[in-house]
C-alpha cells in the first residue's frame, strides 16, 4: 500500500508557531523525577532550598501536550497536518524511532519554555521498519525560554505505520 506523498512534501521546511509548555521549569516535577528514578529521596523542603537547575531530560516532559482539554484543538500546525495526512492514508500508528537531543545549557527554575517544530523531511516511498511498512518523518524541534533564547535542539525521526507488526517468537 502506498500513498501520494506530494501533499506532505509541500509541508517540508514549514515550521510551527511557538507552542508554549504547560508549566515552567519547576521544583515539584524535579522532585517527582528524582524520586521515581530513585536518584534522590530528599524532602521537598530541601529541594525547595537547594534546587536551581533542572535535569535536561525533563525538557521533553514539560513539552508534552495536556492529557485532556475541554476544547480539543484540531491539527493546525504543519507537523500535525503531515501526521494527520499519513493517518488518513491508513498509516495510523505513530512511533518515535530515533531522538537526538542537544542541550545547550541547563534550565533554570522558573523559565517558561516554548518550542517550534519544523518538518525536515519525509520518506518518498514506503519504508520497511521493524514495526511494519510505513513512512518516516524527520522533525526538528527548537526549544526556547521566555526571552527567545534557544536552550535545546532536538531531531526526532518518527515512523507512521499501518499497524504494529509483532514478530512471532517461534
Amino acid at each position: 500500500m502506498t500513498m501520494d506523498i506530494s501533499a506532505v512534501n509541500g509541508l517540508v521546511g514549514q515550521e510551527s508557531a511557538r507552542i508554549p509548555t504547560r508549566h515552567p521549569a519547576n521544583i515539584p516535577d524535579i522532585r517527582h523525577w528524582c524520586e521515581v528514578i530513585r536518584e534522590d529521596n530528599r524532602s521537598y523542603q530541601l529541594f525547595e532550598r537547594d534546587t536551581v537547575k533542572a535535569p535536561p531530560a525533563l525538557l521533553m516532559v514539560w513539552a508534552m501536550p495536556a492529557l485532556w482539554s475541554a476544547e480539543p484543538k484540531g491539527a493546525t500546525e504543519p507537523h500535525e497536518r503531515a501526521i494527520r495526512m499519513l493517518e488518513d492514508a491508513g498509516y495510523g500508528v505513530g512511533l518515535t524511532i530515533a531522538l537526538e537531543q542537544k542541550f545547550l545549557r541547563p534550565l533554570k527554575i522558573g523559565e517558561r519554555l516554548s518550542y517550534q517544530v519544523r518538518i525536515a523531511g519525509v520518506s518518498q516511498g514506503e519504508v520497511v521498519t521493524a514495526a511494519g511498512p510505513g513512512y518516516e518523518l524527520e522533525l526538528h524541534y527548537t526549544f526556547r525560554n521566555q526571552d527567545g533564547e534557544v536552550v535545546s535542539e532536538q531531531t526526532c525521526r518518527r515512523a507512521q505505520v499501518a499497524r504494529l507488526a509483532v514478530k512471532k517468537r517461534h
Partner: protein, 201 residues
C-alpha cells in the same frame, strides 16, 4: 464432631480466633503528626484536574482565583489524601523489604498483630472525607492517623473470615487548622496466600 456435611453441632466449643485484648490498647490512639512529601503546588493541582477533567477555574486560573473570595488558587479538596501518601522509596521499603516508614504508628502495630493472628489478606473497602476548610496552593498538609475501631468478632465475607477496622486520618495545614477528617475502612481476612507475597511477585 462434624456431620457428613462438615457442619459442627451448635453447642460445639468456639474455635480459637483473634484475642481482641492484643489490639485494644491501639484503639483511639492517634499517631504523631507527619510531614507531607510535597507542598500543595499549582503543577500537581493542574495534573489532578487534567486526570479528573475538572475545569473549575479556582484550581487553574490564577487571575480568576485572585479575584474570588479566597484570594488565590485552591486545590480540589479530594486531593487532601494525596499529600499523605508515601514516596516510592517508602512504598518499596514497605511492600518489598517489610520496613515501614513510621513503625510506631498504631496502624502499623495493628497490622503486625492481625498478620500474626492469620489475617494476612488486606482490602480497603470504603473512604469518607469530611472537609472543614479549603486547601490552598502553597499549603503544607500535616497528617495524623489512628484506629477508630476494630471488630471484636469475625465476619464471614466473600473473601473469607475477616475483621473490619476503621482508620481515622486528620489533615492540618501549616497554621494547625483542621482541613479534613477522613475515615478509611479496611477488611483484614484469612487469605489463602500472603498478600505480601502477591505484591512481591
Amino acid at each position: 464432631m462434624a456431620n457428613k456435611f462438615g457442619v459442627l453441632p451448635f453447642n460445639s466449643p468456639l474455635e480459637p480466633t483473634m484475642d481482641y485484648a492484643k489490639i485494644a490498647p491501639l484503639i483511639g490512639v492517634q499517631s504523631p503528626r507527619h510531614l507531607p512529601h510535597d507542598r500543595v503546588t499549582e503543577v500537581d493541582v493542574d495534573r489532578w484536574c487534567q486526570v479528573m477533567r475538572d475545569t473549575n477555574p479556582l484550581y487553574t486560573d490564577e487571575e480568576y482565583a485572585k479575584k474570588s473570595p479566597w484570594g488565590g488558587l485552591l486545590a480540589p479538596s479530594g486531593m487532601v489524601h494525596v499529600f499523605a501518601l508515601g514516596t516510592m522509596k517508602a512504598a518499596i521499603d514497605q511492600f518489598v523489604h517489610g520496613k515501614c516508614e513510621f513503625p510506631d504508628d498504631p496502624n502499623v502495630k495493628l497490622n503486625l498483630v492481625v498478620e500474626q493472628e492469620g489475617y494476612t489478606g488486606v482490602m480497603a473497602t470504603a473512604q469518607r472525607q469530611q472537609h472543614f476548610r479549603r486547601l490552598r496552593v502553597g499549603d503544607e498538609i500535616h497528617w495524623t492517623l489512628g484506629i477508630a475501631r476494630l471488630s471484636d468478632y469475625d465476619h464471614l465475607t466473600r473473601q473469607g473470615v475477616g475483621r473490619k477496622y476503621q482508620m481515622l486520618y486528620q489533615f492540618y495545614n501549616q497554621n494547625d487548622e483542621l482541613l479534613c477528617n477522613q475515615s478509611f475502612d479496611v477488611l483484614v481476612y484469612r487469605a489463602p496466600m500472603s498478600t505480601r507475597r502477591l505484591y512481591a511477585g
